[in-house]
């Protein structure tokens, strides 16, 4: 099934025409209304009028998360604040999160692209969509919500966590589509087995999973245990939220909704555009967003673009599933975290030495973070109780700062690796 055949199956030449028209319009708007873009375009000696073809896009400067932080909170809005009807932020933690503002029209576009994504998973107005993405500042919950409503499906906003509730609703309501992070889906399969629920009594037929990196092996496992079709969804707060791209039932990459988001893949070293089929960093430009146009946003996600025709009939370009990032940012259970956030929290605890290491593992299906902290003379006590208290205090402090539970391990002073240059603070042991 295809939600918007006209947009999703458009002839490529026609789409390119639409893209350049939209690109030129959004550049003019961004240049006129956002001082930041004026400044950056000026530095790159480029004017919106210089962009005549899609290829010219490489003349434009990149936008990064740092730029967004500098503009915090509303510096990149292209419309008066009163036209913004909703804001979301990236991981709502300490420091400066990145803010994303939406006009009413932007919310409609968001609903449209997520409707396309859910339709790829087989959703129709007859379906019950059990939404396990977090509602709140995180875009996952509401993004899926808008898409489901656009289709006219019945959406159950369970939000993240609350496993018991998820199981009850799944059984009692007869949910047909599950949306959540893939690791939580796997966790739910175990909970279903543990609760002795007969899988045959569940009506789940498909799952729309994303917000974190996952593998085909994980997909196989979820599909086998839940007996459903598990498909990958992609998106990011800065661009719109979930619904930038979605995998169709061919399971051969995620279709990017190119009429709204213009993708490029660039070399992370030279930042030069790479041809289709080559692996690099995904850069996205929003073509239709009013509230906050994003010009050449460096996603830091590593992928490959493919344009060979897809059996599903869509002419949209496909991106490979994201397998890594070009920065040290961590995606933990769907939440983006900079190691520096953990560092900041750690250093606020007086007794702690500034040496630490973050170890990320996925022992079962959920990501876990261990923070190894060097014990200082001040922290050390001859009583276990005091050390345990100190450890818990650090754990609590980090949890309050990043919103995720971590396990703190005290290690001996001067035992963590030191280096002259950039210290390797993160060891990611997850097998993805």
């Amino acid at each position: 099934m295809i939600w918007n055949k006209e947009a999703e199956c458009m002839r490529i030449g026609e789409r390119e025409k639409l893209q350049i028209e939209r690109l030129r319009a959004i550049l003019r708007r961004a240049y006129k209304n956002v001082p930041y873009y004026q400044k950056r375009f000026g530095e790159s000696k480029v004017k919106p009028a210089d962009i005549r073809s899609l290829k010219d896009i490489k003349k434009l400067p990149f936008t990064t998360k740092t730029d967004l932080r500098e503009g915090y909170p509303f510096g990149l809005f292209a419309v008066p604040r009163k036209e913004i009807v909703e804001v979301h932020t990236s991981s709502g933690t300490t420091g400066k999160p990145t803010v994303s503002g939406y006009t009413r029209k932007d919310i409609e576009i968001w609903g449209e692209v997520v409707a396309r994504a859910l339709t790829m998973c087989g959703a129709t107005k007859d379906d019950i969509i059990q939404n396990g993405y977090g509602y709140g500042l995180f875009t996952g919950g509401l993004g899926v919500h808008y898409g489901a409503q656009r289709i006219g499906a019945t959406v159950v906003p369970v939000s993240a966590g609350q496993t018991k509730r998820h199981l009850d609703i799944m059984q009692d309501f007869g949910s047909t589509i599950l949306t959540c992070t893939p690791s939580y889906a796997l966790y739910l399969t175990e909970a279903v087995a543990e609760a002795g629920i007969n899988r045959k009594k569940l009506k789940l037929k498909a799952g729309c999973f994303g917000a974190e990196m996952w593998t085909d092996r994980m997909r196989d496992e979820i599909e086998k245990r839940f007996r459903l079709l598990a498909l990958n969804i992609y998106g990011l707060t800065e661009i719109i939220g979930p619904g930038v791209a979605q995998e169709c039932d061919q399971k051969n990459g995620l279709h990017i909704f190119e009429d709204h988001f213009y993708p490029e893949v660039v070399s992370p070293e030279t930042l030069e555009p790479l041809p289709d089929g080559e692996k690099g960093e995904l850069v996205l430009t929003t073509l239709t967003r009013d509230g906050m146009p994003m010009i050449r946003f460096r996603t830091r996600d590593i992928t490959t673009l493919r344009r060979e025709p897809c059996k599903c009939g869509r002419t949209l370009v496909r991106m490979d599933r994201v397998t890594g990032r070009t920065d040290d940012m961590l995606k933990i259970r769907g939440v983006l975290i900079f190691p520096s956030q953990i560092e900041k929290a750690l250093l606020e605890v007086r007794e702690v030495e500034p040496h630490y290491q973050i170890i990320v593992t996925r022992p079962q299906h959920l990501d876990e973070i261990e923070v190894q902290v060097e014990t200082s003379k001040k922290l050390f006590s001859d009583e276990v109780r005091h050390l345990e208290e100190a450890r818990k205090k650090i754990e609590k402090h980090i949890e309050n700062s990043i919103g995720l539970r971590v396990k703190v391990t005290l290690v001996e002073p001067k035992t963590l690796p030191r280096s002259e240059g950039k210290a390797k603070r993160v060891i990611d042991k997850r097998q993805l």
Binding site: K377, F380, D382, E383, R385, T409, L410, E412, P413
Partner: protein
């Protein structure tokens, strides 16, 4: 003078305990008593040695996190109920024991118990008042 105990932080890592003891061996420091408190992640090694200052110095030089604290050493009759009677005195005086460990004197007549109470002076006072042999630092170091 109070009896001094040296304690060090040990990561739960293979060979780490040996490394600590080896530092002391090389410095010709004899250990009078020791105990290890352990959790799943780390351990605390507590030691009574004749020259705590020197022990502290050599351990710190080898990058161990060391701490010195006051403890009480008492001589307890090496017979059933010996230790219980000592603890009863502290309980009656409303003094909390943080931790303790025991070793037997070479002659075998008495057990030496090292106690860490929430207040060292109060603990000592209560024990002395009840007639328990509280050992001086010199007595403990030269055992």
């Amino acid at each position: 003078m109070e009896v001094k105990q040296i304690s060090l932080f040990l990561e739960n890592k293979k060979g780490r305990l040996w490394e600590a003891l080896n530092v002391l061996a090389k410095a010709h420091i004899n250990i009078r008593a020791l105990s290890i408190a352990d959790t799943s992640d780390f351990g605390i090694l507590r030691l009574i040695v004749p020259d705590p200052d020197n022990a502290k110095k050599v351990l710190a030089k080898s990058n161990f996190t060391v701490r010195e604290s006051d403890v009480i050493a008492v001589g307890v009759p090496d017979s059933p109920g010996g230790l219980a009677s000592v603890l009863k005195i502290l309980t009656d005086a409303d003094i909390n024991v943080e931790y303790m460990y025991a070793f037997v004197e070479k002659s075998g007549k008495k057990a030496i118990v090292v106690l860490r109470t929430d207040s060292i002076s109060k603990g000592k006072k209560a024990l002395k008042k009840a007639g328990v042999t509280v050992l001086s630092s010199q007595q403990v170091y030269t055992l």
